[in-house]
């Protein structure tokens, strides 16, 4: 068909009042982004099926999906997923509470800043994985230490963004608010915190991905449940399909955490230009 007349000369097929051509084209446009992952999966499947690779080391996508199906229906997955999600969520919310709280205190008082800021700067660069042994000795190898390790990882982006957010509020905006009668607590709750909210929420969003990455590490090191444990346990017994299925679940978990955080960000900051 000639490009210049395609709107006129193409046959119009109508199904239930919908133009079938337009429909399929919009479907194609929307699914364009899926094309390259699908091709990769196809090639992968083909390579395994044609036995270029031993499926023992790298199972075909279809057998991973089959394994996922089995895991879903035996209930094994739900138990692991439940444990993982509750650890990540507990650690994350504890970090949010502490991060925003400490951040506000530091931004509020010069004295608190001098007291706490050096500590933050000293502990922040220490790798979360490096402190895992300490946490295990102090809090045991149960869920408490796992949650606290996740808290440690999520705390820093939140606290730093909270401090930067409050300190970055335009001093003239504060003066405008004061001239309208906002002082003390009202100035904080009605002007400083709302003004810093975009920054605080960005920190909280960065922290969601930290919570999942840390969760995986902790569960692989020491746990008897959780998706991270499921993956490492599958590796130990060479159940590669289960291992791949678990990795897939972990990616989906990280992705959905970020989506939820983004949704909250959009809801809360409808006024903000940046989102």
């Amino acid at each position: 068909m000639d490009g210049s007349t395609k709107g006129l000369s193409r046959p119009v097929v109508m199904v239930n009042g919908t133009d079938l051509f337009c429909f399929s084209r919009s479907l194609f446009n929307r699914s364009k982004k899926l094309l390259s992952p699908l091709i990769c999966l196809g090639v992968w499947e083909l390579i395994v099926r044609l036995e270029f690779i031993n499926p023992f080391f790298c199972p075909a996508p279809t057998s991973i999906v089959k394994e996922l199906y089995v895991l879903l229906f035996t209930g094994e997955l739900w138990m692991h997923l439940g444990d993982s999600v509750s650890r990540a969520v507990c650690g994350y919310f504890l970090a949010s509470l502490l991060g925003v709280g400490v951040g506000l205190l530091v931004a509020w008082s010069r004295f608190v800043e001098d007291l706490i800021d050096p500590l933050i700067e000293l502990i922040r660069p220490v790798s979360t994985f490096a402190v895992i042994p300490i946490f295990f000795i102090w809090f045991g190898i149960g869920d408490v230490s796992k949650v606290l390790i996740i808290t440690k990882a999520c705390f820093f982006p939140i606290v730093l963004n909270t401090i930067a957010g409050i300190k970055g509020v335009d001093p003239k905006l504060i003066q405008a608010a004061r001239s309208l009668g906002a002082e003390g607590i009202a100035l904080w709750t009605r002007v400083l915190i709302p003004s810093a909210l975009p920054m605080i929420l960005t920190g909280m969003r960065v922290a969601t991905s930290m919570s999942v990455t840390t969760l995986v590490g902790v569960e692989m090191l020491s746990a008897d449940s959780g998706i991270g444990f499921m993956v490492i346990d599958a590796q130990r017994v060479f159940a590669t399909e289960k291992m791949f299925a678990g990795i897939l679940i972990l990616s989906a978990l990280g992705f959905s955490f970020d989506r939820v955080a983004r949704l909250v960000q959009h809801r809360v900051l409808a006024w903000h230009k940046g989102v």
């Binding site: 905006l173 405008a176 309208l180 230009k273």
Partner: protein
């Protein structure tokens, strides 16, 4: 007793290198109730500093500054400030911005709503009540900012180059509207500007401030009839005032 009385006011700032900057020196001015005063002077002469002192947003270094007979100690509910940068709360709608002051003073919701409706009409923003500031033009944002200041029913409005960032046409429209609002709201206005025609057009008296450290060089009474018309800009007496003030400022640069 004047409405706003400044006598021998000094203001010294310290910059980052701990050096003293004398912004105002022996600044003496008395403003009567319902007057419209404009303040002009070379850049950095301290004219904005005086507004911040009068608003109670900055402490004075020495001297006496009295508003309604009482020394200024902090932001007073009866005075309101309007800034060049509008400084609206971006997370609040037009209506919420305007109701911010009354809300802090625990004015009932019904009363707040009533007065914000009137103010929105007064500044010509009907239909934009629920928009956010970033959806509005500069001129409209400044209208919101003026309405927000008026919502506290102030007796004194301090305006720091409020129309400085606006284009010429918007600026003219807002000047006319400000005069109307000033007459309706029966308040006193202290208005800092860089524009000599604007200063003459709006004011009962123009205060000329010397270069830093800022002192009052001269106060010029503007004897033009009110209500002021646009045609006055070309009248001989207007042009004479303009020329005279320009010379005063040029002596300072």
């Amino acid at each position: 007793m004047a409405f706003l009385e400044a006598s021998m006011v000094n203001k010294i700032y310290h910059d980052k290198k701990k050096q003293e900057i004398v912004a105002l020196s022996n600044f003496t001015l008395s403003v009567e109730e319902r007057e419209f005063i404009t303040i002009i002077g070379p850049s950095g002469c301290g004219k904005s500093s005086f507004l911040f002192l009068a608003a109670g947003l900055e402490p004075l270094t020495s001297g006496v500054l009295k508003f309604n007979g009482k020394p200024v100690k902090g932001p007073d509910p009866l005075s309101a400030m309007v800034f060049q940068e509008y400084l609206l709360f971006p997370w609040k709608t037009v209506r919420e911005n305007i109701e911010f002051g009354p809300e802090l003073r625990h004015v009932s919701k019904k009363q707040r709503r009533e007065s914000s409706c009137n103010l929105i009409k007064m500044v010509g923003l009907g239909g934009f009540e629920n928009r956010y500031p970033n959806e509005l033009s500069g001129g409209m944002q400044q209208r919101v900012s003026i309405a927000r200041a008026l919502a506290n029913k102030p007796q004194l409005i301090l305006m720091d180059e409020p129309f400085g960032a606006l284009d010429a046409l918007t600026r003219e429209t807002l000047q006319i509207e400000l005069l109307k609002i000033w007459q309706q709201a029966k308040c006193t206005v202290l208005f800092v500007t860089h524009s000599i025609p604007e200063a003459v057009y709006l004011a009962d008296r123009v205060v000329v401030v010397s270069k830093r450290p800022g002192t009052i060089k001269e106060i010029v009474d503007i004897d033009l009839p009110r209500p002021r018309e646009r045609e006055m800009f070309t009248s001989p007496s207007f042009i004479e005032y303009e020329r005279y003030l320009k010379n005063l400022i040029l002596e300072e640069i």
